[in-house]
Symmetry: none
Subunit: 143 residues, 4 copies
Amino acid sequence: MPLLSLDHARTILDAALKAGMEHTFKPLAVVVLDARGALKAFAAQDGTSLKRGEIARGKADGALALGIGSRAVAKMAAERPTFVAAATHAVGGSLVPAPGGVLILDGGEVVGAVGVSGDLSDNDEICAVAGIEAAGLKAETGA
Amino acid sequence: MPLLSLDHARTILDAALKAGMEHTFKPLAVVVLDARGALKAFAAQDGTSLKRGEIARGKADGALALGIGSRAVAKMAAERPTFVAAATHAVGGSLVPAPGGVLILDGGEVVGAVGVSGDLSDNDEICAVAGIEAAGLKAETGA
Amino acid sequence: MPLLSLDHARTILDAALKAGMEHTFKPLAVVVLDARGALKAFAAQDGTSLKRGEIARGKADGALALGIGSRAVAKMAAERPTFVAAATHAVGGSLVPAPGGVLILDGGEVVGAVGVSGDLSDNDEICAVAGIEAAGLKAETGA
Amino acid sequence: MPLLSLDHARTILDAALKAGMEHTFKPLAVVVLDARGALKAFAAQDGTSLKRGEIARGKADGALALGIGSRAVAKMAAERPTFVAAATHAVGGSLVPAPGGVLILDGGEVVGAVGVSGDLSDNDEICAVAGIEAAGLKAETGA
């Protein structure tokens, strides 16, 4: 598992932002993490609220923490709310159970995660997937 | 009350991992704590997600914190969710209410706890119990 | 006071990274915050250590927190270490007293801060300043 | 950079413990982290104090956070105490600036870190290095 390169991360970031603008979504914050959970690239479009980036990061952190896309974390939260609340504490607080936290796979291995927040979660996820696919990598949304 | 020995802890750990492999469960993280809540032995199989170990630890920490197996903590969380949410805060955040956090008893005394995470919680618990019994000790799952 | 635009933030980010490469500095993490302390843009070059981004952020957070470049925070830490230690707690933990956290000024007003970490602090600061000046804004290092 | 395998991690752990026993060092806690900073393997010998494992982990976490062996972190702390105190906060609290946190290198890449605590820091480091070399990997102590 090579660490995600900055080139790949910025390709993902730019394509996710571009998708948001093409769909005329609300201003987005886009986080790209490598497999270590370290921040690799980030941008917040003009007009995002004060902690929008933290919401985006929580989607990506939660996906990496549990090894599933955040759409699956959201489903788990609906079915087992106390478990997900507890897991959030156990991992240190950054785990947002809503679509838009998407694992980045390369040859079957998790090499990072993208988190997007700003519009409806389904729309956030569309941008995350567009970003990952623009880099020639595979997106795992948790659907 | 003598503290759990490293020999016992590693017997438990190895037998729990072996049970997981024999059942072809997903990759597991296995935590063994002594009666003080101090980490005694740990292993994460290849392929576990970034924070899988923290989930396993939360099951074992919760069992020791309340003096009951985490299956009973899960039942309590279903019946009294606000109490368990508050208790999680009160103990510092590491308390995961799902099966797989199993008390280790020796002659009626709690000498530690095992936490397992990675597969379905019922399967995680099977491995924790197999580990404890392999060491000739008594498992208390909270069933 | 208009918030720092993403266009400006990315100009700063790219010019800071370019300066690091031209000087053949070690791999850098570069943080750009707006005046609210919200993350606006970020990149970590390939080869940065696990928490390098947190160090960079601490420089920028500290500069904004106290309203002075982090070179002045470093001087304050040398002269009044207990004050800076206490201030670090008071602001929540993210305040790194070393050069490389540089305020961004526009027409005399603070519109954000840049934090750079990866090489010697003096070199980190060179990149932060190069970034800010490339965007036609004024850098306040705390010198 | 492949993730450190459990086989390698346990070879490191066992050889570090064996070195401690051969030198008749005090009881040790030994932590093995992968490149993500995730706990991979751990053991505390009988007789270790309540939070000895946290000290060992702080050495390994600090080495990974900054990308240097903890002997170099200790030197940095002696020369620039306020910077290291601040970095400790910035990375979340787990950073112990004393020898015994040793990076694991494979083909020039950091694939994890070992942390040992229990005896004198110089002795702790001897065990960490012995463990890493027993796995055929390269140890970077920060000397």
